[in-house]
Symmetry: C2
């Protein structure tokens, strides 16, 4: 309490020397371990002793920035708002929906062509390999198989490493962080979009963000009339729609896409957005439908039924009764355990791999090559151990066809069941596993081996610095896992193994990603069988509950590992014991409403703050009052345009509106902010004044200094703030005593200031066995 | 601005004399018209001239109350929080999930037995009628038909009128208002639950609310260890889960139920709730499954395939191409127009009927009887005009069976298609209409007549004071409408008429209720055919867009008509031109932190405010500071327990915690609040003091007086507040200058204070033709 005032420590630039960082017990091991791709952008932490507060700003690195979902209601905005013509509003609305249409079309098309490429490339590979195997050229077959795998992965790794490192991984954690208000560098650039192949959520979000930026300035694509969208709020909406479109395109699951965005990605939501996201995914569905129509005329090479995941395993006669519940419950419980173990192992591997990847591009490539060769060896080597079975089905054995049973080393008229699982695209394999009436197609041992292989390979592949998704590997592993359980049940259950595979996939998705409604709908949209619904729901509920008692979901783990300051949606219990003034630290920088240019420049140069409270002092007001909040970006605009006046007096807002249009203050795309270092001012100009009044946001959100931290966090998160001002509770003080930002709500920061609270906090990132964690979380906000 | 301070005018008691009400231009016609069932509870409006500010409190009428989703963080709460044992937390969590389990089971069972009853009663009726018709006893048949209809409706009307008027209608508007923070009287009582039959959303919400109240005090069901749930926040969660369970039980649509709650009912949502609502609906699905299993053994009378809406019209071969889009788009456009017209007519009829219903129970019964007889005449009379068709299908003609084609006046081996639509339960009729390959079963004229009849009867039935739902009539009307369009298309389309019926139902749902994702999922879960998805989405998008340009959805219209102060989720443009101090009115009542009993009693008796800011003044603090907010309910508890002290001094929180436990301050169920009139104090006691400190919420949310109204509304709504304090911007003023409540954000109130803003506001309740409305809304928050 008292006079402790807050430093707006938000921009998080390179912490180049390790001694600037305070190692807290919550970090995993050492500082280095948390760095990964974002190592140069890591959170610079407040030291409890309040030293080294001032950030080094103006470096040419892209910082992790917070986003501001609040409108800046300053005089200029209000004038603009009032004078907005009907046609401007119509254009805005028209554009908004056009963007959604565009995002839907593009995401649908990209999803389709992605799939087309995968089906054709992978299909060609498998056909070539099986032909060689048929001709007994085993070593050549291996060479072709391993060689093509290696070439593809090296290509992906090289473009990721040299064009856009942000394109690595699934991208979902970054999208999630963005929608929470954290702008990781370069995640939504055209480069990233170009490199990205596969994980559709990130692709969709990229399309949304790029559309919202009004093209890319760098590549000369910039339409002036898109300026209304140049704020974080509209961009966030477009990114949300894009992410929903991504899932819809990946799984042909339009409703699932909307729900995924709602359940897993978004931190804020409103019903108008539901409506637009739904429109976007509907467009995706129509686009896909139209493109598939074209393909059905047979112009798409190997793209057949396998294209675009849609397993459509029609089994009208699925019946189940209460007696079938125990095996299903068991499936859920084990799925939850395996899922949380998957998360745990994934984190460990990511951790080790990131240390390797950090050492440079050569290491990245070497790692990718190693992973590729191990994968090839496993996939090619293990089927030799599997027994051959006589063919009974139509599509067996496969000669020159993809998607069917594989002959491998067996005699003609026989098939190798393990090879049939490995030498197919993921989509085809999953369809095989989901199929009804195929209980006897696979040996118990083959399914076991296949499960272990996909579990392990899924974990080690993701750490490679290439664009890999998580969804399909998890579904594949889950499906094999389900079959394993089905086989172990033997005659104790009457349920089909194909049904077990579907439920296994659900339980594994629930165990790793912890989504409920969206996974449920996606599974339904994938299998096109609504009768499964109650069982899928049950399995998801159980596996999520079990897994939640061990660790958080995989995306949150990766988020933490990457050091992105994600604001949780629940309140830690100790936050109720603190007031807002307990967590602010460092000196508060304020401006007068008419301020000298020199002091503005000085403060901008010596701090990294993104916003400054402005005080109206005598002669403009007596006593001093809080006039509002001004943003760094706006101050830079004023300095660049040299909006100066010789004396300390009011200039009036008419003057300002003549000199500036709203576009001057529009927020640019991520990573394109101005720097104070680029502005040159003469000594004479430094002695002049700026009347800040017309540019100040006169409606900043405030809390009284005695407000509990828990409630301030609720406000901060629900309204989507970037800055929250603290006002004094009594009258004889300065009108503003501090400023809270995202950083001040981070548990690491709070526990750094109040180490005695640590005991009341439970460890989140550790692999825990305490089932109580979930219970403790529940009663909080 | 300046010193205008705010009156916390929240409790909205009977405005007994009409002159107290200020007729505003936004009201529909006269004051009387807005009254309906809630006429005695209508909003008392602030007169612009600030007269008659003080409400008459203490009457024995149940007021419409606001809800408070914020935690009261006072000393007692904090002590309780810190000392909460692990077992208490575990019990809380355990109870929470048990409640959901319980709600799911009960809602599933009620849904099932509701349906069972309907199937059997309606089935018996139709069988009796068709047997009489077969015996050529036409007048007897009519007498039986009309008589049973009349008896059933009279019974429903009588119990509604005499036991619980709140059970009338669909209940969805009331649930929606509750989740927005408006507690209409008696909506969630045991009486209401007992009377309610049919509309499952309200039933589910009732179960949730009653469970959360820890039983009903009135009926002696009260478990003390449920006290943790005695706050609005937990009750809201349970009501949400209950409403989701209701939809799930009504339509066997668990995912649709969750989405309906999310999209249409809730004003606030968090992901933890998604998770619990999902669990609840999963339980519903399992319960239903188990009960249907029992019925399949044939113990349920006429409850056969018709029971529990699940149309399951399996048509695997639905194909459609881009060429089929124009008729579908046309269907959507006309559906939107018809849907908004339905809303408009419904409102007019409700309006007229409510005037009749107001006149007393006799009128209610007369009205119900009239409606019932008109309905019977239509349904029995119109089929005489329909031609007979020769039987070609298995289930034709029907003798002693429900759910099949009806013989009516035709020869044996013939059927009357219109009678087949009328003389079946709604479920059976809808299944008939949705069926594939039945293009030639119905004559064009019969479908047309059926459409017009169900459109008109749907509108007039809802106004009767009995528990009627909206969903099924709307689906039925929509399905006939779809068939009409399909028939009019003739050979211009290759789509099946059953598909047209499904799309028609979707478009009509979109046109009246304006839901998107949830209707989409419900339709999918009803028809069990995912291939329909893109078409359903398209139709919904179009019909909603078209209808939105005319009027709001039916629930919002009914909400407005009932005078419930619903807080919209968007900001009206004029709110950006106002600051919070522009809308507060009337004198502010505050307490000192140690206050005289007499003044507390006086203020409680003379105002209806629900919370009072407390100021720490000398000698406890110098200068005066805002200490927090105290609730009326807490003050009443203090007065009742006579927590008095002889002098004006601090008592300390230890003293308080000895005398009070958290349960003393737990919020009771709706309509069970204490009254100051029930507390008797001696003249001596009136001279004593109370130290309020331990009972004051020290973390009330505040805004500075210059905050724009739009931003304050955002805060108010997103955080779920009941009171929002206004603090001064400068230091030389009282530490709190006003208080904002829900009422202050109501457009009627604001425009009453600032009539000049009216021109910038567009009329919401009128039947509008301006498509621009939607466009104007969009750019706002």
């Amino acid at each position: 309490m008292a006079n402790a005032a807050g430093a707006s420590e938000e921009e998080l630039p390179r912490a180049s020397s390790a001694d600037e960082e305070v190692v807290e017990e919550e970090q995993i091991g050492t500082v280095n371990e948390r760095l990964l791709d974002y190592r140069s952008l890591n959170l610079r932490r407040h030291a409890p002793n309040n030293t080294s507060q001032v950030a080094i700003v103006g470096s040419n690195l892209c910082p992790i920035e917070s986003l501001d979902y609040e409108l800046v209601e300053n005089d200029l905005f209000n004038q603009d708002w009032r004078s907005r013509s009907r046609s401007a509003i119509l254009r805005y609305v028209f554009l908004k929906w056009t963007f959604c249409l565009f995002i839907g079309c593009v995401a649908g098309a990209i999803g389709f062509f992605n799939n087309l490429a995968v089906e054709n490339i992978a299909g060609l590979k498998f056909v070539a390999v099986s032909n060689l195997m048929l001709a007994d050229k085993y070593w050549t077959a291996f060479a072709v198989f391993a060689g093509s795998n290696l070439a593809l992965l090296m290509f992906a790794t090289v473009i990721t490493a040299f064009v856009s490192t942000a394109a690595g991984g699934s991208g979902i954690p970054e999208v999630k962080a963005y929608l929470n208000g954290v702008d990781a560098p370069d995640i939504f650039s055209l480069r990233t979009l170009a490199v990205k192949a596969g994980p559709m959520v990130h692709i969709g979000a990229c399309i949304g963000a790029i559309v919202g930026q009004g093209g890319s300035r760098k590549y000369g694509m910039n339409w002036r009339w898109l300026r209304y969208f140049k704020n974080d709020r509209d961009r966030r909406d477009l990114v949300t729609c894009g992410a929903a479109a991504g899932i819809a395109a990946a799984f042909r699951a339009p409703v699932g896409g909307v729900l995924f965005a709602l359940e897993s990605l978004c931190s804020w939501w409103r019903s108008a957005l539901l409506w637009r996201a739904f429109f976007t995914t509907a467009v995706v569905a129509v686009t896909l439908r139209a493109l598939v129509d074209v393909c059905e005329r047979g112009n798409c090479g190997l793209f057949g039924k396998g294209g675009l995941i849609m397993y459509d395993v029609t089994a009208d006669n699925i019946t189940y009764h209460l007696a079938d519940l125990p095996p299903v419950i068991l499936l859920g419980v084990i799925g939850g355990i395996l899922g949380s173990l998957y998360n745990f192992l994934m984190l460990k591997v990511l951790h080790i791999f990131s240390q390797v990847n950090e050492k440079g591009c050569t290491y990245k490539l070497l790692l990718a090559a190693t992973v590729s060769i191990i994968t090839s060896c496993c996939l090619f080597g293990l089927p030799w151990l599997a027994p051959c079975s006589p063919c009974v089905k139509d599509d067996c054995p496969s000669i020159g066809r993809s998607g069917s049973f594989s002959n491998f080393q067996c005699l003609p008229n026989q098939y190798n069941d393990l090879a049939s699982l490995f030498f197919n695209t993921n989509d085809d394999t999953i369809r095989k596993l989901f199929s009804n009436g195929s209980n006897d197609d696979f040996h118990k041992s083959s399914i076991m081996v296949s499960f272990i292989t996909s579990y392990v390979l899924g974990i080690i592949s993701y750490g490679v610095a290439a664009p890999f998704g998580l969804f399909v590997p998890v579904i594949l592993t889950g499906a094999t896992y389900g079959r394993v359980i089905g086989m172990l049940m033997g005659s104790n259950t009457s349920l089909d193994h194909g049904l077990f595979a579907v439920l296994g996939a659900a339980s594994f998705l629930g165990g790793t990603m912890r989504m409920t409604v969206s996974v449920c709908v996606i599974i339904l949209e994938l299998t096109n069988n609504l009768l499964l619904l109650p069982l899928v729901m049950l399995v998801l509920l159980i596996s999520k509950s079990v897994a939640d008692s061990f660790n958080p979901n995989i995306y949150d783990l990766i988020l933490k590992l990457k050091g992105l300051p994600y604001l949780e949606d629940h309140v830690e219990p100790y936050m109720r014991q603190l007031t807002v003034s307990d967590v602010v630290a460092g000196p508060l920088r304020t401006f007068n409403s008419v301020e000298k240019v020199g002091s503005i420049v000085h403060i901008l140069k010596t701090t990294g703050h993104h916003a400054f409270p402005v005080i109206d002092e005598p002669p403009f007001s007596s006593p001093p009052v809080l006039y509002g909040l001004i943003l760094r970006g706006h101050l830079l605009s004023l300095l660049r345009k040299k909006y100066f006046q010789p004396t300390c007096s009011l200039a009036g807002s008419n003057h300002a509106s003549k000199k500036f249009v709203a576009d001057d203050f529009a927020k640019r795309g991520s990573g394109k902010q101005d720097s104070i270092d680029n502005i040159e001012l003469t000594a004479e100009e430094m002695e002049m004044f700026i009347d800040l009044h017309p540019f100040i946001n006169t409606s900043p959100y405030t809390v009284v200094e005695t407000m509990s931290l828990a409630k301030a966090l609720l406000l901060f998160r629900e309204v989507g703030l970037r800055h929250l001002l603290i006002v004094p509770k009594s009258a004889n003080r300065a009108p503003v005593v501090g400023i809270l930002t995202r950083h001040d709500f981070m548990p690491e920061h709070i526990l750094g200031l109040h180490p005695y609270l640590t005991k009341s906090r439970w460890k989140r990132l550790r692999f825990r066995t305490s089932i109580f964690t979930k219970f403790f979380r529940a009663p909080s906000i």
